[in-house]
């Protein structure tokens, strides 16, 4: 349903933006020939007929032909997707590894100096835009210190031997290239997570069942890390699922700053060269990813929260 609507929006942009025939046939064509071309391509059909044709084709994996790459959009996107997915994986990993311990610590010891520092930096972190973080990181680690490369994906390995999934995760060089872009992409979400985990944890620590755990004589570690932690995770997981979708949007900035050959980079390229059918395909694919990610998160949520587990699954 969601995807149908997004496809509709994308499609109406496509049909209203410019003339799709001109880039195909060029300037010097007679009106009769143009008319024949339009008829052949089905451009004279009513809007919804065209739309349903598009949806029908999309269901079969055919998202149209990209003008700039001169191949099918599906292929172009599939070639760029792995880079973006790896970037998001890297950023998500950084977010999880850093925000969980910091969020929990600042909730448990809100008065310590370390907690106050973390909270201060997180306010700062939220306010710095991602491209600025990226440029500062490049300046510091690539230009001044020369530790890490500043652009591109480095050495990649063709994972399945068919030219689609070129992975940078299995070479040292590829991983090195991944570091700065992931940090920069993570930087925008990380402070939000620290704050979210902190406030959720503090709320949970005030509940009756935590007080009861103390009355049961359990050790503080068990109360914090088992009883409070799992309840803290519930809302965090939901938000994390939503944010992974939003991270796709932020990759556009990050990938541009770091010349990362992913979907965001491709999207910007498509915008600049007005490759409308590729833009439309991008929208549909991102919507699809959004839906899939949220479904996966909902399923995972069912595992950690027994109250939403569907009856009959056990």
């Amino acid at each position: 349903m969601v995807m149908l609507v997004i496809a509709l929006v994308g499609f109406s942009i496509q049909s209203n933006l410019g003339d799709p025939i001109r880039p195909l046939v060029g300037e010097r064509v007679s009106p009769e020939e143009r008319e024949a071309m339009a008829e052949k391509l089905g451009l004279n059909d009513p809007f919804f007929t065209q739309y349903f044709r598009f949806v029908k084709k999309a269901l079969k994996g055919d998202l149209g032909i990209s003008f700039i790459y001169q191949t099918s959009c599906t292929k172009v996107i599939l070639k760029h997707a792995p880079a973006t997915i790896e970037l998001i994986l890297g950023a998500a990993l950084i977010i999880i590894v850093i925000s969980l311990p910091l969020g929990v610590f600042t909730a448990l010891k809100p008065r310590s100096i370390f907690s106050k520092l973390v909270m201060g930096f997180s306010t700062l972190g939220v306010s710095i835009p991602v491209f600025l973080t990226g440029i500062m990181l490049i300046y510091l680690f690539a230009v001044t210190l020369g530790w890490l490369p500043s652009y591109g994906r480095g050495e990649t390995i063709d994972l399945f031997g068919n030219g689609y999934w070129k992975s940078g995760l299995f070479t040292i060089d590829g991983l090195k290239h991944l570091v700065l872009p992931s940090i920069s992409l993570a930087s925008i979400m990380l402070p939000l997570y620290i704050r979210l985990i902190r406030s959720e944890m503090m709320e949970v620590l005030e509940t009756e069942y935590i007080k009861y755990s103390w009355a049961k004589g359990l050790s503080p570690m068990r109360i914090w890390m088992v009883h409070a932690f799992k309840n803290t995770l519930l809302p965090v997981v939901t938000v994390f699922g939503l944010q992974i979708g939003i991270m796709f949007a932020f990759t556009i900035l990050t990938e541009t700053v770091f010349q990362w050959q992913g979907m965001g980079f491709m999207f910007l390229d498509a915008v600049q060269r007005s490759d409308i059918s590729l833009l439309n395909a991008y929208l549909v694919v991102v919507a699809c990813v959004f839906v899939i990610v949220n479904t996966v998160v909902d399923i995972f949520y069912g595992f950690i929260n027994p109250t939403v587990r569907i009856t009959g699954t056990k």
């Binding site: 009861y212 755990s213 103390w214 009355a215 049961k216 004589g217 027994p306």
Partner: protein, 319 residues
């Protein structure tokens, strides 16, 4: 004359921004093995705080500022946190008010039961499960094996309170502190839970501190009553004596407000006029004086002490 639990001159304060306020103002009581004590009073009298201060679990910013609590001959009010933890949930266990909120929603009943045993006794999960099952049977929970794998939300309120009672029984404690254990439950379930608690305490010779505002319940279950008002115990003694011949006008008022006790059917119930004072604004002298029908000048100047009166103790100038 060594009691199981002895509370002497306990004072609890809450550190607030504008200074400390006194929630418990020098109360003393004792409890023997197998004895059942009722802590009675209106909301805000300090009943729950008293209960929590025994196991040193007062919510921040509260703290014990004075007094001694001895349990089995040891002064537990001087214990460190880790030493206190060995007593909590083991020798003294607590039952909370609202069974809907007391169990952790994301863990199974089995896990929440066995963890208590594993924290206090060196035993395997299998052994702990066996004891958990045995205690679930003791509180008359149908098909206990099935319950262990269930989550709290799958059970009713009454069932959950039974489970919490079973958890409090796991380690065969010397004292159970029950903080309004039936307030959040259906009236029909209330009686069942109270009967169950009473039966268990008698069969296992456990002491019970029953915190409640319901004098009716207390008079049926306990042997001793301490009536609290504005952080003080104002009447303390055997239940029979106090219910039949209350000394303090406040206790008298409480008893007269219960249908079918002193008041005969058809007569009007007596209300105590006014409200309990807030802790920041406790009246001079006897805290009850603005609401008292016996009030004289001395009540507004001097604080009455607890003194012997017909076999019980009461703090009132006029009696």
């Amino acid at each position: 004359m060594s009691h199981l639990l002895n509370v002497e001159d306990l004072e609890v304060k809450f550190a607030l921004r504008f200074g400390d306020i006194t929630a418990i103002d020098g109360i003393s009581f004792s409890l023997d093995k197998g004895e059942k004590l009722g802590l009675v009073g209106e909301s805000g009298a300090g009943k729950s705080v008293t209960g929590f201060s025994i196991i040193n679990l007062i919510s921040k910013p509260g703290f014990i500022s004075k007094g001694r609590i001895t349990f089995e001959g040891n002064e537990i009010s001087a214990y460190s946190d880790s030493k206190m933890r060995q007593i909590r949930g083991d020798r003294i266990s607590m039952i909370f008010q609202d069974p809907m909120m007391t169990l952790n929603p994301v863990f199974t009943i089995g896990m929440q039961m066995t963890e208590v045993l594993m924290a206090h006794r060196k035993m395997s999960k299998g052994q702990a499960r066996k004891i958990a099952l045995e205690k679930l049977k003791k509180v008359y929970i149908p098909s206990p094996e099935k319950r262990l794998a269930q989550y709290p939300h799958e059970l009713s309120g009454g069932m959950r309170q039974r489970i919490i009672i079973a958890i409090s029984l796991l380690t065969d404690p010397a004292i159970i502190i029950a903080d309004e254990p039936t307030t959040a439950l259906d009236v029909t379930i209330q009686a069942e839970i109270m009967d169950l608690l009473q039966e268990l305490c008698e069969s296992d010779n456990m002491a019970l501190i029953l915190i409640t505002h319901d004098l009716g319940v207390v008079s049926q279950v306990t042997e001793k009553i301490a009536v609290m008002y504005a952080g003080k115990i104002i009447e303390y003694g055997p239940t029979d004596q106090i219910v039949k011949h209350p000394v303090h006008p406040y206790t008298e008022g409480l008893i007269k407000s219960i249908p079918g006790t002193v008041i005969k059917p058809g007569e009007d119930l007596v209300q105590i006029p006014g409200m309990m004072p807030t802790l920041t604004n406790i009246p001079q002298g006897c805290a009850f004086n603005p609401r008292c029908y016996l009030k004289e000048d001395i009540c507004t100047t001097a604080t009455p002490e607890l003194k012997q009166k017909n076999g019980a103790m009461a703090a009132c100038h006029m009696k």
